[in-house]
């Protein structure tokens, strides 16, 4: 089997799910003939037609709202946000309408909202965002954010088959930078389960998305230079979050560093810290520390963007300090 990029893995999942289930359809801006801003949906309209790969007006609220209506009627829509930054234009629809539909009205909303996320690409303030924390606070939504091609494919298939709305964040830095050989069989990764990306004894790094790779890089360096054995837990699913996997790694290493690319205040690291506090406080030998972006909009210039976002060297420095505590 040939190696497949993270982007191609997403495209495969869309293609296979549309083949498998006629109720699956895609809608979004420029996803048809053009194949999407990053070409994730390339070839889909040629195969499935304009009726199932729908080019929409620039209307994120209508894309999400129409998907919800179609989902009520038994369809399984997959919405593309051209950049995930624009999901804020559909914030009302997602948080007030979609997320509450099952609870208040027993209306099913099996739908996916997916889109290119994240920085390290000189995209500036509006093409680099990580808005997961804004939605983590909304009961009724699910959130996944894969770091590998295999998880991207398997989680997207799970998201499309899920009976509730799943926000599927794709890291655009990873689109064409990572490759792997995917399982040949129908590959579905369950939502809500973390993945142990690297086993270790001395310290745990809990992270997700592109910073999984930076954490792995840091872990290698720390082993080489400091003789530290670092565990890396890739959350994959943020809502629901795999509390058991978090508690297990705390009990194993007793030291936790949480790393995410999103800004610090109100970020997911704070939530993880609270959960560890509630469920594994007595297993800690040191305070839980965070490596995150600084609390600023993401700037464009390379020296600025690189200074704001967490880098491998930051993780190494933080882990050394935590190991010494």
């Amino acid at each position: 089997m040939p190696e497949v990029t993270y982007l191609e893995a997403i495209r495969q999942a869309l293609f296979e799910e549309m083949e498998r289930d006629p109720s699956v359809f895609c809608l979004g801006e420029d996803i048809g003939a053009y194949g999407g801003a990053f070409k994730v949906t390339e070839g889909l309209q040629a195969r499935f037609g304009e009726g199932r790969v729908i080019d929409t007006p620039i209307s994120e609220a209508a894309i999400v709202g129409a998907a919800a209506g179609a989902a009520h009627m038994g369809m399984r829509p997959v919405c593309e946000m051209q950049f995930i930054d624009f999901i804020s234009c559909a914030y009302d629809m997602l948080t007030n309408y979609v997320a509450t539909a099952r609870y208040r009205a027993m209306l099913p909303c099996p739908m996916v909202v997916r889109g290119p996320s994240g920085g390290y690409v000189r995209g500036g303030p509006f093409h680099s965002q990580n808005p997961e924390a804004a939605f983590l606070h909304t009961p009724g939504l699910k959130i996944v954010y894969p770091a590998t091609a295999s998880d991207a494919k398997g989680l997207l298939k799970a998201a499309i088959r899920d009976d509730d709305c799943v926000l599927f964040f794709e890291h655009k830095y990873l689109y064409r930078r990572i490759k792997e050989t995917l399982p040949a069989t129908d590959h579905v990764v369950p939502i809500g389960k973390a993945r142990l990306a690297r086993e270790g004894r001395d310290l745990s790094i809990i992270t997700y998305a592109a910073t999984v790779w930076k954490a792995l890089e840091a872990a290698e360096q720390l082993e080489r230079e400091d003789g530290l054995s670092i565990e890396v837990l890739d959350l994959r699913s943020l809502l629901p979050m795999d509390d058991d996997a978090i508690v297990a790694t705390v009990r194993k290493t007793n030291r936790v560093l949480i790393v995410h690319e999103d800004t610090r205040t109100g970020g997911i690291a704070g939530e993880i810290t609270a959960r560890i506090n509630e469920r594994a406080f007595e297993w800690l030998d040191a305070p839980v520390l965070r490596v995150t972006a600084a609390d600023v909009p993401l700037p464009y210039a390379p020296p600025l963007e690189d200074f704001v976002l967490p880098q491998t060297a930051d993780i190494v420095r933080a882990a050394r300090q935590l190991a010494r505590y």
Partner: protein, 398 residues
């Protein structure tokens, strides 16, 4: 219809306020031999006698049910706000009646479209339970008032964020189109909701996709306290249709047969593949935004004028009697039937149980089936000793 009011100095005064188009007894009516068979068709609307009486029944049921809700509200048995459609019963009932339930048509009502839900099969027992937050209400106590739906009977409850149901109904009707189904959708918005982004995005999307959708703009003069002249600079909401490249029509929303006819044309157009129609129905909100609202912003005499000159039930009963094929005893019997149904339903609803606290954790997702019990609530079933009802939702609570 009356003159255009947009930007004029008469503020909240309704544009058709002075015109009374209610049918007066025709001079020659008594000369005709009335046809009192239920299948006798009305030449103008094409509706049978039985259907025209059914319209009357739904309008009366709407009004009487809301009057009962007012009593229950004053007794604090309705625990949240109460939203009336007094004076607007005709536009909700007449427009909904144009849908074909046998084909699976679906509507999404606005807060003042109780009548449209009754037409689609909602029953007073459910409405009363909803308002009283009962555990066996359609939303099991999760949502208020008429915010509930039933896909089988063909209505989807709105949410409080106005305009949001336009994109949702665009998607519902998109699914009809994708599956080649012979179904139509209808969504109600008020004059205020036309100012939202969701209204624009949803209507534009549906227009581009040529969804089988009817969008009814129920222009009742006010959005809470804000008159239409402060909502839009357009002379009439109908004018917006041209901008979306869709059909538009406008009718007297207090004339139930006119409302039915204009909506029927739009429904037929949608079913035939003609896409979206925007209908502006002119009516008037005789009560406040909700029961607490004292309507201090309404010019003196305006409400009384509409009550006296343009009450949709008065107009319709006069028209029915004038047609010569309905007599007042029949209408009185319908009134009594509606009242009996409400009496029975109210007694039943009052006796229904409230939900229990831990029920609140169930059903956010299909999987997991319930939210985690908070650690400090472990073993607790009732969070407080007394479930107090706030004194009122506003400062003017009756």
């Amino acid at each position: 219809m009356g003159t255009r009011a947009g930007g004029s100095s008469n503020g909240g005064r309704r544009r058709n306020g002075g015109t009374t188009t209610a049918a007066q007894p025709a001079a020659g009516a008594a000369m005709r031999a009335p046809d009192r068979t239920d299948t006798a068709r009305d030449a103008q609307s094409g509706l049978s006698r039985a259907q025209r009486l059914e319209l009357y029944y739904y309008m009366r049921l709407t009004r009487s049910l809301e009057e009962r809700l007012v009593n229950l509200y004053r007794q604090t048995k309705v625990v949240g706000g109460l939203f009336r459609s007094l004076g607007q019963e005709a536009d909700a009932v007449g427009s909904a009646y144009a849908l074909d339930r046998s084909k699976g048509d679906i509507l999404s009502p606005l807060i003042r479209n109780l009548g449209s839900m009754l037409v689609q099969g909602a029953r007073p027992a459910e409405i009363l339970r909803q308002y009283m937050a009962k555990g066996d209400s359609p939303t099991r106590g999760r949502e208020l008032n008429i915010h509930y739906g039933d896909l089988v009977r063909g209505f989807i409850g709105q949410i409080s964020h106005l305009g949001d149901m336009v994109p949702v109904m665009a998607g519902v009707t998109l699914s009809f189109k994708m599956r080649g189904q012979d179904r139509v959708g209808l969504v109600y918005v008020g004059d205020g909701a036309t100012s939202t982004g969701a209204f624009h995005e949803g209507l534009n999307f549906a227009a581009v996709q040529r969804c089988p959708l009817v969008v009814v703009v129920e222009n009742n003069g006010y959005a809470y306290s804000t008159p239409v002249a402060k909502q839009t600079a357009a002379a009439q909401f109908l004018d917006k249709a041209a901008g979306y490249g869709i059909a538009g029509e406008r009718a007297d929303g207090n004339d139930v047969l006119a409302t039915y006819q204009v909506t029927k044309r739009a429904v037929d157009r949608a079913r035939a593949g003609g896409g979206v129609t925007l209908i502006e129905l002119l009516t008037y909100r005789r009560k406040g935004h909700a029961e607490h609202d004292n309507q201090s912003y309404v010019p003196p005499g305006e409400i009384e004028h509409w009550e006296r000159e343009n009450d949709p039930l008065d107009r319709y009963s006069r028209a029915l009697l004038a047609s010569g094929d309905v007599d007042s005893q029949e209408l009185a019997a319908i009134d009594a039937r509606a009242q009996q149904e409400i009496d029975a339903a109210a007694a039943d609803a009052e006796a229904a149980p409230m939900p229990v606290g831990p029920d609140a954790l169930v059903g956010v997702y299909a999987d997991p089936p319930a939210a985690e019990m908070l650690w400090f609530r472990s073993g607790v079933t009732s969070a407080v000793a007394v479930h107090e009802r706030p004194a009122g939702w506003g400062t003017h609570d009756a």
